[in-house]
Amino acid sequence: MIIDCDVHAEVREHADLLPYMSLAWRKHFERDEWLRAANLVSSHVRMSDAFGHAQAPAYLPVTDPGRTDLVLPPQGLAVNGWADHPAATVYLQALNSFADEHWASPSSRLAIGVSPHDRAWSAAEIRRRAGSPATGAVAMALVPEMLGSSGWDPVYDACVETGLPLVIHYSGVEGLYLGAAPLSGGVHRSALARLTLMPHLAESNVASLVLGGAFARFPGLRVLLAGFGFSWLPPMLWRLDREWRTFRADVPWVTAPPSEQVAQSFWFTSHPLGEAAGRERAAVLPPGLRSRIVFGSHFPYGADSAGQIDDRLGPGWAEQMMSNGAELFSGTARVAR
């Protein structure tokens, strides 16, 4: 049994999406720069300074019943850097329809893309697609309004109602495009710095979700932080618990240490395994957090394989991660067991 919670699938040509749009929007999108931008948009998630790169191999739906993929189209994430918000919803709607036809199978579950720029549309899109057996999660990219804000409640309401976990993954334009979420510090001109600092987005949004009371409003909300690794987690939770102890009168809706909420409501994908490997470096992960780590290969970008897990992290980790993945999708997805 392999459950891979971070698999990326790209459209090869933006023109492939035109049939999924109204005639009027097709006319809007039929412009040379946009039609040639599929490769540009998909390159953001690679976080490389290289101007060109080989196109990712086409994603083929899984037919092996012993495997489940959560398919996360990176092009849908990159709308967090789009200026035209109505166009972003049309793009996502087309991408979701394309994905449903081309990438879904009983073992390939889709993280449907919703727009951080239009919560009402996003909530409706979640409810519209939740009935499809292909839908496994909801993916939304980050904008500067952090996830603890009650402004996201329509999206969370729809996630909880449909039983779908919310997946947060960087698009790669964070700290790069205006309109997307910023990275820590100031302006980073190096791809290495941006990718190194990407887990800070996860840190800040864990703090925001927990202290902002999202789980007091939506106890059933489940969040998968994908692509950020996990070795940053223990020190972050020490800090978060300390601030809660010091200032808990400021957040009376948080009635238990934040680390307990994290151990209950969050999951984290494993990529890149290499950063957590090496015994002298690996953060000690308390038993309560081991149950929160799921395998995410990050295919096809510098992907880890399931076979590397135990080699890198030690015996028992692969089995634990797959079991955690099954738990994440229990009730929402038909996963191989």
Partner: protein, 370 residues
């Protein structure tokens, strides 16, 4: 305290305050004195209307009977903080200049920082050998900052340079004049948050957006320290200035290991992504960075704490600090006992000597190790 009383302690983060900001006026040239008499002096960086502290930022028991704010009485600070804990040297990081990070007036910020340096040199460093100073310069004008470093850098008791940031990250060549002066005088850069982080358009920020509350912001504020450390490494600062050292104060340190492991791994995967980096990022970190201990994290188990202090990348890099007189002071009597015995001497003073040199012990001090 009995088991630690024999150790000389160097406290690398003590904030002295002036009784009254107007006391600084006497250290300014007349035209600037008149300027500040009209404008007043903003001495805090944080936007207090936006991120107001839920209680107060200082310890009530640090407020001196002689009047003035917490930390403003040099005798009371000695009697209540240095002597009870055997602190041989308190590294003074004046906080009034943090306000200039919210100032747009460049020459005014230069004049004020310089006056604060003169004030503390005369009234604190000159008063007791247990006080050492990091002279403060801001990013407003790096050439003026370098001039101030050369003007004050060789004064007895000056052991470092407190650098205040605006939007420019520390890897920028903007800072080269400052780094050049720092290397010339063998003074480390001391990097402490100013409070303005995440508050102003000219401030550095935490990732993701704008945290809602003081505590939420504080939980992730260490990101600003981490981001500047990463930026210095990828920008080749230490290839340009191989002698430069940076003391990271009050940014925590438990995040360092996972950050460096990630950075090493990503760099090995794609060295072209950072062409100015010539060796493992963690190699730069080991050579050029130290970290103060406050606020000391509280892992779930003592084993985790021991593993942190004993890690080869940190054992030589941690410097004890209290952050007196702030609300979250790490009480030396409590915290030093939590530091594993095997690294206590390193953290209490040996690593500080390695960072600042023996000048961290002032000449008249009898508490220095023999």
């Amino acid at each position: 305290m009995s088991e630690t009383a024999w150790l000389p302690v160097i406290d690398c983060d003590v904030h002295p305050l002036v009784k009254d900001p107007d006391d600084i006026l006497g250290y300014l040239p007349a035209p600037w004195r008149r300027h500040f008499e009209v404008t007043g002096i903003r001495t805090y960086g944080r936007a207090r209307d936006s991120y107001n502290h839920p209680h107060r930022t200082y310890r009530l028991d640090a407020v001196p009977a002689s009047g003035g704010p917490a930390g403003s009485d040099r005798d009371y600070l000695i009697a209540s903080h240095l002597e009870p804990y055997g602190i041989a040297t308190a590294l003074l990081l004046p906080q009034e200049p943090y306000g200039v990070t919210a100032w747009g007036n460049v020459p005014a910020s230069v004049a004020f920082c310089n006056a604060v340096n003169s004030y503390f040199l005369e009234n604190w460093v000159g008063y007791d050998d247990r006080y050492a100073l990091a002279v403060t310069v801001s990013a407003h004008d790096p050439d003026e900052a370098a001039r101030e470093i050369r003007r004050q850098g060789q004064q007895p008791g000056v052991v470092g340079i407190q650098l205040l940031l605006l939007e420019q990250m520390m890897g920028s060549r903007w800072f080269d004049p400052i780094y050049e002066a720092a290397c010339e005088l063998s003074l480390p850069i001391v990097f402490h948050q100013s409070g303005s982080e995440g508050c102003h358009a000219s401030s550095q920020v935490v990732a993701g957006g704008i945290p809602r509350s003081y505590g939420e912001r504080h939980a992730v504020l260490s990101q600003v320290g981490a981001a500047n450390m990463v930026d210095m490494i990828v920008s080749g600062v230490f290839e340009r200035f191989p002698q430069l050292r940076v003391v990271m104060v009050e940014w925590g340190f438990s995040w360092v290991l996972s950050l460096l492991a990630r950075m090493d791994y990503l760099w090995e995967q794609d060295p072209l992504s950072a062409p100015l980096v010539r060796k493992l990022p963690s190699d730069y970190a080991r050579t050029h960075f130290t970290f103060t201990t406050q606020p000391l994290d509280e892992p779930g188990t003592l084993a985790e704490l021991r593993a942190l202090f004993g890690h080869p990348d940190l054992a030589h890099a941690l410097l004890f600090s209290s952050d007196y007189p702030h609300y979250d002071t790490d009480d030396p009597g409590f915290v030093i006992k939590r530091i594993p015995a095997a690294c206590r001497a390193k953290v209490c003073y040996q690593n500080a000597v390695g960072t600042f040199g023996m000048r961290i012990f002032r000449p008249g001090d009898t508490r220095r190790p023999r």
